[in-house]
Subunit: 307 residues, 2 copies
Amino acid sequence: MASSILSDCSSARLLPFRRALLPPPAARFRPCLALVYPRRLFVSSPAPLPPRLRRMDSVLAAAASSADSATVSTDALAKIIDGKMVAKQIREEIAVEITRMKDAIGIVPGLAVILVHMNDENILNAVSIEKDVDGFHPLNIGRLAMQGRDPFFVPCTPKGCMELLHRYGVEIKGKRAVVIGRSNIVGMPAALLLQKANATVSIVHSQTKNPEEITRQADIVIAAVGVANLIRGNWIKPGAAIIDVGINPVDDLDSPRGYRLVGDVCYEEASKVAGAITPVPGGVGPMTIAMLLSNTLESAKRINKFK
Amino acid sequence: MASSILSDCSSARLLPFRRALLPPPAARFRPCLALVYPRRLFVSSPAPLPPRLRRMDSVLAAAASSADSATVSTDALAKIIDGKMVAKQIREEIAVEITRMKDAIGIVPGLAVILVHMNDENILNAVSIEKDVDGFHPLNIGRLAMQGRDPFFVPCTPKGCMELLHRYGVEIKGKRAVVIGRSNIVGMPAALLLQKANATVSIVHSQTKNPEEITRQADIVIAAVGVANLIRGNWIKPGAAIIDVGINPVDDLDSPRGYRLVGDVCYEEASKVAGAITPVPGGVGPMTIAMLLSNTLESAKRINKFK
């Protein structure tokens, strides 16, 4: 399923950044922050990683290496929205904040992963809303949907999409936006965020009869459907901003791993029409992790009343 | 504000139906069902109505009288979606169920109104999710938004809109739907319901630059913006189904009250283009009340484990 591919790829990159950013277990307090992807529960873990988790490191290393090798077509007209660079900036900002917090009150946030293979709805319902740094709890999604309410946490991938649009100066208010895909973890919350930012939003999904026609009307497209290269160049309005959330493996015999990662958007075609576009890899993926760290910091600050 | 007009008008018609349907205080158990509109809290009240509530009866009588006098343009091409008739059917179905429940377990649901003039967010947060027969609690809205989840209660007015579409055989799956207005109590939940029913949904609002162009693409329009006659005939795709939630007073010196009620849709124009349309009054208004009673019954059944 599309969303499981997305969540697996995105969440898989968590640990290296945790190691880079988070202080050792000497800190006197570590709030138990929990986040849930289907069949995976992420909670704090100051102890050494168990073998099962250490095995994830090879997956993470492969993803990082893949991101490093991202190439950009030289005849592209679109501005490249560089998620790697923005995510790096954000991680640096977070590191400064963590240091400030540690120096001031001796407290640092902590986050780790536990694989549990359980019903994700039951787990999500059991997670404290104050520790739901993924923002997947239905109460949080409800607050995201409602006028005059704010969510406790904005889900990481959609938050990353919005951050990219903001940092690249893409105007949202009054613009037509199309979200392709309606998953709980990306499509739906992304649509709700665009709507809160005063875009006019349409959600395109598997039952939509003319997705290319609707997408062609959009000034902003967020693609999160999990189908490699689905969105072709002729789906894109000239000058549109394209955020590609898809991370899909396709066969590539020239790659040492026998596959490479591509987005939901046919980059070669779309980059000649769009005004701005995220590459895959190196676009939204790194932003998801940065936003997870941002939410984790936010949670720790809130719990400890630190500003 | 649009939504306050809607909620005032809709909720104002509650009491006569309550009196018609609900048994006297002799029943041995009355669950405390609570629903909240901005600045109004509705909870169970077996005691006689206080003077403040009794004054609402005159408002209700005026609304009912206005509904009785609904007229239909003779040169309309559109099928009239008769909310009064459907609501009557539903109330009769509910009455049968209440009788069955009372006979079987001696329990009947109860519902009344208290005016409290408090912060509606605080009140909504305090309402038990099991008694939120309005379906306005953010947890409920979150479950409405999410794939694979179901809300405890579907908000009454949007539920009424969907019921009208269903009972008049309007196909939703795969169709383009436009919701005009994004209030917490009508527009947003209506969009989420259409989306759950597999329509391709766009939300048009005050910041939308070309509302008429987007609306003209829709096979289904739900108008809930609170501006009299905003949606003109040339906004409508020929054959579209139009659900008009608006209830707006406009000056009418020929009326004994000096005003009459009209919808958000210019009925005279739209009824010549649309395939089906709700009148105002006599369309969505009565459905809201029927759905409130339906949710109340559902809540009482659920609490008492009666099927």
